[in-house]
């Protein structure tokens, strides 16, 4: 299936959960902020979110800024 992650199209295997995608990207779960189809997805919900065709995701984090 195709999804959009941080503005880029990606192909994922069917049935991939949000938790699996975060670990696939080797990201630190503690600091990733996920916006899933324009809504913030709380960490507790990640294992239950099974990604589907055309989903839009943003993986964000807090960085230094003024």
């Amino acid at each position: 299936m195709r999804i959009t992650l941080n503005g880029r199209e990606e192909i994922l295997k069917d049935g991939t959960t949000l938790t699996e995608l975060v670990s696939l990207k080797q990201l630190n779960i503690g600091e990733v902020i996920v916006v899933y189809n324009h809504q913030l997805a709380k960490k507790e919900s990640w294992p239950n979110i099974v990604l589907k065709e055309n989903d839009g995701l943003e993986f964000l984090r807090f960085v230094g800024g003024g």
Binding site: N6, G7, K25, Q26, L27, N28, G30, E31, V32, I33, V35, H38, L40, E58, F59, L60, R61, F62, V63, G64, G65, G66
Partner: protein, 256 residues
């Protein structure tokens, strides 16, 4: 007399707000915060670049600080609102610095979109501190929109050029019944002190501290300057005069 700065119902202990961008190492941040005494600290929200491993900035900010995420990257009110909502939902508290910029050369804020974003977010219970080009009419609209403070720029972001908008900031201080916080452009402690002497409620400094030869020492210098400037404002500076006015008595000279 206790001199207290209240913003969004919170007592703010330091009138120096600190930005966390451009530090050569995140490890400097807690040291700088200790040295300058800042309580309000800004952060930004960005897409993760898996190619570039960066640590979580929030873990470097002491827990007692008030985190103020900015909406940098937003080009209109809707984007600013979206960033603010994500930051709050991610546990960053309800303070937000509105920053809406559509000009890449001078990074000047879009005052119209800033007012719109302020109105929406204040209605949602955010403590909204909008960054703006110093303009009295916009500032009045920000008051009506529910801003908790107004943050005019001294000169373009990161330029270290000081209080180029001095006269316009003076008018805001005089006319606007909210704390005026000079944000952007302050390059030296003397400029921070000057803003405070003029009656600014606080200043927000980032580049001048983060890119100094010794950021920790510069943080301390800014902390002292802001305190000195505030004290001077409260003390009430004497009048200025065109000609000399002798400080020693002009009578009873010792002469032959």
């Amino acid at each position: 007399m206790r001199d207290v700065l209240m913003i969004g119902g919170k007592e703010v202990t330091s009138r120096l707000f600190l930005g966390t961008g451009k530090f050569s190492s995140h490890r400097l941040i807690p040291e700088v915060i200790r040295a300058c005494g800042s309580q309000v600290v800004t952060v930004a929200l960005r897409r993760i670049d898996p190619e570039y491993e960066e640590e979580n900035i929030v873990s470097y900010v002491p827990g007692e600080c008030i985190l103020m995420p900015n909406t940098s990257g937003a080009r209109n009110a809707e984007e600013a609102v979206r960033i603010a909502r994500v930051a709050r939902a991610a546990g960053c508290g309800n303070w937000v610095k509105i920053e809406v910029i559509a000009d890449n050369r001078y990074l000047l804020p879009d005052n119209y979109e800033t007012v719109r974003a302020t109105e929406i977010l204040a209605a949602e219970g955010f403590v909204v501190l909008p960054y703006m080009s110093p303009d009295l009419i916009t500032a009045k609209k920000l008051v009506e929109a529910g801003a908790a403070a107004v943050m005019p720029l001294g000169s373009p972001i990161g330029s270290n050029r000081g209080l180029r908008t001095r006269e316009l900031i003076r008018i805001l201080i005089e006319e606007i019944p909210l704390p005026i916080i000079v944000d952007a452009g302050i390059g030296r402690p003397s400029e921070a002190a000057e803003a405070m002497e003029m009656g600014a409620a606080a200043v927000l400094v980032n580049t001048a501290i983060a890119t100094a030869g010794d950021p920790v020492a510069m943080g301390r210098a800014f902390g002292l300057a802001v305190e000195a400037g505030r004290l001077a404002y409260l003390a009430g500076p004497g009048k200025t005069h065109e000609y000399a006015r002798a400080s020693s008595p002009l009578t009873g000279f010792l002469r032959d």
